[in-house]
Subunit: 457 residues, 2 copies
């Protein structure tokens, strides 16, 4: 099998591929928001029909919340099997007023396609879909057996995917998995992630008076739960930038000297990270470079606070309650369950006697590491070299893809994190975008990758 | 003139008075929210027509934002003039889901009328309107000259009323003012407030990265402005419950021993205040009773925070900015302008170098005190005795009515704060109510008060 015809097909059909991606992006498949449940479902249906049209055998698997789309092509007898994972759900688009074009009306400006999910992850997963189409249309066959597992709950922590993987080890059996949901270093500078941080997302609620109180009639005598929440949050980090929860670093491994050295050469510099973040001064745990803080060290981030009056002007109240959304990023060998226990104990300790607090767990995911020396990683590296004209560097990622750890521990297969996102693609933020050259080079890279896997002895 | 016929009229028309109050309450005259500007205007028009029907001469005075309604009856030659102040605007009704019946669909349950503004201040100001009607319908005259000044901007700090008073000293000239916008001690336990705290409402914004950041890709390297805001807010109060802004207590007078003694006998006990607040444990400045903290001491209250993701589930972001709404309650001789300067200086000092902050002033009002020994205060006390069958106590209030200080300093007249609210009427909160016996006894008290003023030698 030679790849050229498939690559030419992909090149000739770029315009249509882009239009199809736009259609995919118009579904507001926001998994976190119950109001969008029907949109998530319609998006799954569209995706399933699309995969069927390309020539795969497709099944929509309902779950307790949002469906999985499972599609296979298993006619490459004697060849390896690759499991392609992606997610068609997206982050909430809020704050809406900060979008230059509406989040679910895809808009091309310059070389970028703007929409919620353009990059995370609809655009990136679509590179593989279009690679499969290009191969099937030009060769009538794929160089490997393929199983596509596309979920609708990644942005809410994959609550139903992990049990599904557990129950369907046989159906999902493969030699390796590939996931495109991570970053490159910059345009033309591809990267393969060999490690992901885990996550633990929580909600912390503080309650005070039974109802909102008039701040004139009660200001100065009743502890304000919103103020108490702020006071508690200010006790979650120390002056040194470290997370101030006792025991939280107990299981965090000391980074090895050789890896620190490699990452300091291969990874982004402090200056690059600050520029990507759009901030002037760094913050965080002393004694580590910014890239180490992002990948080798755990982080605790305050994602949002809701409390009291938020409209125009003022309102003279002591609110009855206030809620914070928080999430940890965890590194090997931290277990989300253990960190949760430490967090709950700490919150119980620092809750003032004048208010009450409660903690709710929103999602959990384990960290994961894949050895970069594995053959599948080398196949990916060679594919990037051909697809982007540049060899990728192997990097650690600061993000989390919950399924990677499940593939590792349940299916016993390595996962290649073949990212096509740029550092300034505004993942999770307003004006998310996908760099179109990365979309098209991504399709080519996926074609080369699948071919390399099939050629493997 | 004898009051009995007017009182009988008021009693006979209770049902209609209640229906009219409900009509008044159906206007969502939320002054803080620009979306409700037209509703505020329609409410002013309804009120003006209503006052005209009763027999007053009415003018709607447009301002830069919400109109004033000014109504007069000046035919009591040789008699004193009383200025009746009230406000027809209301606090925002949010959070809507916590209302048992919709805020702008007045609903009677038991002896209480539930609606936003039922008590603060539409219901309370309406007692005087119905007293005027009862007197005019039964006596064809009022015992005193009356000027009604009803504004639509009290809940946003009366920005246009104070300049109006300044410019119209002559038109507003009177011997005394009466305002019903304060609390009684409990059912059947009337109170006259002889002091109000001032207020200073502010917005504090903290900005970090230029856009929301993915918490996986940036969690641990960029200071989170929402976290920084919490850290700054935690530095606004000390362990001792005092406001931790240097200089803030410099102009706060030492409470006099005699007044402290009087207030500890006449005012609510710690236990009563905690019960009214619906909290188990007190909080605040040590060395003072709760009632003293509420009236003789300044307070700083956090009214709301907006920052980051607030929807269902989680969202892995570092928000780009966060905003807190805060308000001070000030006591003599604190000046809002001075406190604002101290606050801005403190914020500049405690803003970490990793973020930027800005402060916006929302409203300012001076504190006010009226000598309880003035004749108009004694006339009010005697009216309460007849209207409620119980002599009122003279108390300090923790709240703020911006115009009281303007009446004192610009018009040089005392203001009687003749409150009809109960401590559990949920002012500013969901399920605000007005105790209907207080509405009807309030009408009678106003009739007796106007008569007493007219009888004065």
């Amino acid at each position: 099998m030679e790849a050229e015809r498939s690559l030419l097909y992909a090149r000739a059909n770029r315009g249509r591929f882009l239009e199809e991606l736009k259609t995919f992006l118009r579904f507001p498949s926001v998994s976190a928001q119950p109001a969008h449940a029907a949109d998530v479902k319609r998006c799954a249906q569209w995706l399933a029909e699309h995969l069927q049209k390309i020539g795969l055998t497709v099944k929509i698997v309902p779950t307790a919340r949002h469906p999985l789309v499972f599609a296979t092509w298993l006619k490459a007898v004697g060849r390896p099997t690759v499991l392609i994972y992606g997610h068609y759900d997206v982050q909430p688009p809020e704050p809406l007023q900060e979008w230059r074009s509406p989040p679910f009306e895809p808009n091309v400006r310059g070389e970028d396609l703007f929409a919620r999910g353009a990059c995370d992850d609809k655009g990136q997963m679509f590179t593989h879909v279009k690679a499969l189409e290009s191969l099937l249309r030009t060769q009538s066959a794929l160089p490997v057996n393929v199983k596509c597992l596309f979920e609708g709950e990644e942005e809410i922590g994959s609550p139903n995917l992990l049990p599904f993987v557990e129950r369907n080890r046989k159906a999902l059996a493969a030699d390796a998995a590939v996931v495109s949901d991570t970053q490159m270093l910059g345009p033309g500078r591809p990267a393969i992630s060999y490690a992901e941080r885990g996550t633990l997302a929580l909600e912390l609620q503080v309650r005070g008076p039974r109802r909102d109180l008039h701040s004139g009639n009660f200001g100065g005598v009743a502890h304000n739960p919103l103020q108490a929440l702020c006071e508690m949050i200010s006790q979650l980090h120390g002056e040194d930038g470290r997370i101030a929860i006792p025991g939280i670093y107990d299981r965090v491994g000391k980074p090895k000297g050789a890896e620190r050295e490699y990452l300091s050469e291969a990874g982004p510099s402090d200056q690059q990270i600050l520029r990507n973040a759009g901030v002037k001064r760094p913050w965080g745990e002393r004694g580590f470079t910014l890239y180490e803080r992002l990948t080798l060290r755990p982080a605790l981030t305050l994602n949002g606070i809701t409390g009291g009056y938020q409209g125009s002007g003022g309102k003279g109240i002591i609110p009855a309650h206030a809620t914070a959304k928080l999430s940890f990023r965890l590194v090997p060998d931290q277990k989300p369950e253990d960190v949760e226990t430490l967090f709950r104990e700490h919150i119980a300790r620092i809750t003032p006697a004048t208010v009450t607090s409660s903690v709710r767990t929103v999602s959990r995911a384990n960290p994961a590491v894949v050895d970069p020396r594995r053959p599948v990683m080398r196949a990916a590296a060679s594919a990037y070299g051909k697809g982007f004209g540049a060899a990728p560097v192997f990097l650690r990622s600061g993000g989390t893809i919950p399924v990677v750890s499940a593939f590792q521990h349940t299916l016993k297969i390595p996962t290649v994190l073949m990212g096509f996102a740029l550092p300034d693609d505004r993942l999770h933020a307003p004006n998310e975008k996908f760099h179109l050259p990365n979309f098209f080079n991504g399709v080519a890279t996926s074609i080369w990758f699948l071919k390399a896997l099939g050629d493997r002895p």
